[in-house]
Symmetry: none
Subunit: 125 residues, 4 copies
DNA sequence: GTGGTCTAGACCACG
DNA sequence: GTGGTCTAGACCACT
């Protein structure tokens, strides 16, 4: 069963997005595996203290991306192959890093300075 | 007068946030200076094709952060000292980089891999 | 639910300020408590015969002062601890009384005379 | 000539109101006397670093209240009798104190507490 | 001319 | 249902 132990809700981004992202990051990190079972909507709703509709939306989005499958009465489970994992990895990483790079360029930060910053902050977090 | 020549509205984030960020980035890049005059609400509103109230909101936020000052009848202008510029710089950079680093760590990306990614994507943008 | 029964709009000060002040005074008077629910924008807007945006502005200011919290889809509610209540109390009282005292001193009114005035007018209002 | 030495512009209230109030308080304090000469609009504008129109508005208001008189080419001067001084005194004092008393009552502050507060703050200002 | 407030109402995201 | 954003435009106070 997939764990939400180290998951805490932050604000700024919608809760359902945070859940989706948590699943994706878990898959990339190798913590969540193919065929692993998702908690039931009802259970996760109670666990996180979040409206069932919010959980429902997260699960629906994951389904639409082909990351999980659900069957009435049987629950939901992860369905990813190696190719998909690579795609998710690129999607997350290149998105995030691209936003950062664009922003820094607009602030006239140089590439070496950017790298130095990343290395600095990496160790402090 | 501060220029909005290279500014284009994107969606995803509120327009007023984009304006606030544009000003902050301009200050950090050294393109916008202390005492420089902001365009009037009406002018900028016409320039960007955006409702005056949206501009008003951006200006109010900047004012609340002490980055600009406004006076009814007189206009608005930038009011930042070196210390503030440093603070804004940290706020933007450490925020962005921190989010990225945290996200990457959760995906079990190593530091060298992260740096390599940043360098790769930097050149492609 | 917080009551606005004894609240009537006056002019001279912005409506949103009056709402903010009403909430603060209610908290100090012990009529409004922590965790109590604020009326929704739409409801209060209809109740006071005021535009929803005006209510929105009042709520935003209260939120920025940490007096209420809002969550899209869920509503708004009061979030104050004892320390904050003390701070609000000081803010309102010392502000008002300070302005008065300063003004009176500039008119060369003596302290005893000031107290006598306050007592006189107190009973007549 | 009436002095504006101890006068500094604050924000929150219009500048012209502050000037009007400064004159009234000076009269009540006995610092400004009947027949005393007002600085020329041009001079005061330069002295306070304020737009001439703002000074003009203050003078106009004072004229309308019969507190000063102006004559083209000759300047402006104070014209108040004892009765007027009494009226101005009441207007300022009862207004200010009334606002304070009403506000405090709404916060469930008792009369003795109010007096104690005034005395406390009086000494600290 | 400037900024500040307010109305009237639409649309969206969220729970 | 909720709050958040945005448009369109009026009116006012201030300089």
């Amino acid at each position: 069963m997939i764990s939400f132990e180290h998951f805490t809700i932050e604000d700024g981004t919608p809760i359902y997005s945070q859940i989706v992202r948590h699943i994706k990051q878990g898959i990339i990190a190798g913590v969540i595996h193919n065929r692993e079972e998702m908690p039931s909507r009802r259970l996760l709703s109670a666990l996180l203290g979040v409206n069932p509709n919010t959980i429902q939306k997260a699960y629906r989005l994951l389904e639409e991306e082909g990351i999980i499958e659900s069957q009435a009465g049987a629950g939901s489970w992860v369905t990813v192959n190696e190719q998909q994992i690579g795609a998710i990895r690129s999607q997350l990483l290149e998105g995030d890093v691209g936003v950062l790079a664009k922003s820094m360029k607009q602030m006239e930060i140089s590439k070496v300075e950017a790298v130095r910053l990343l290395e600095d902050i990496w160790d402090r977090i």
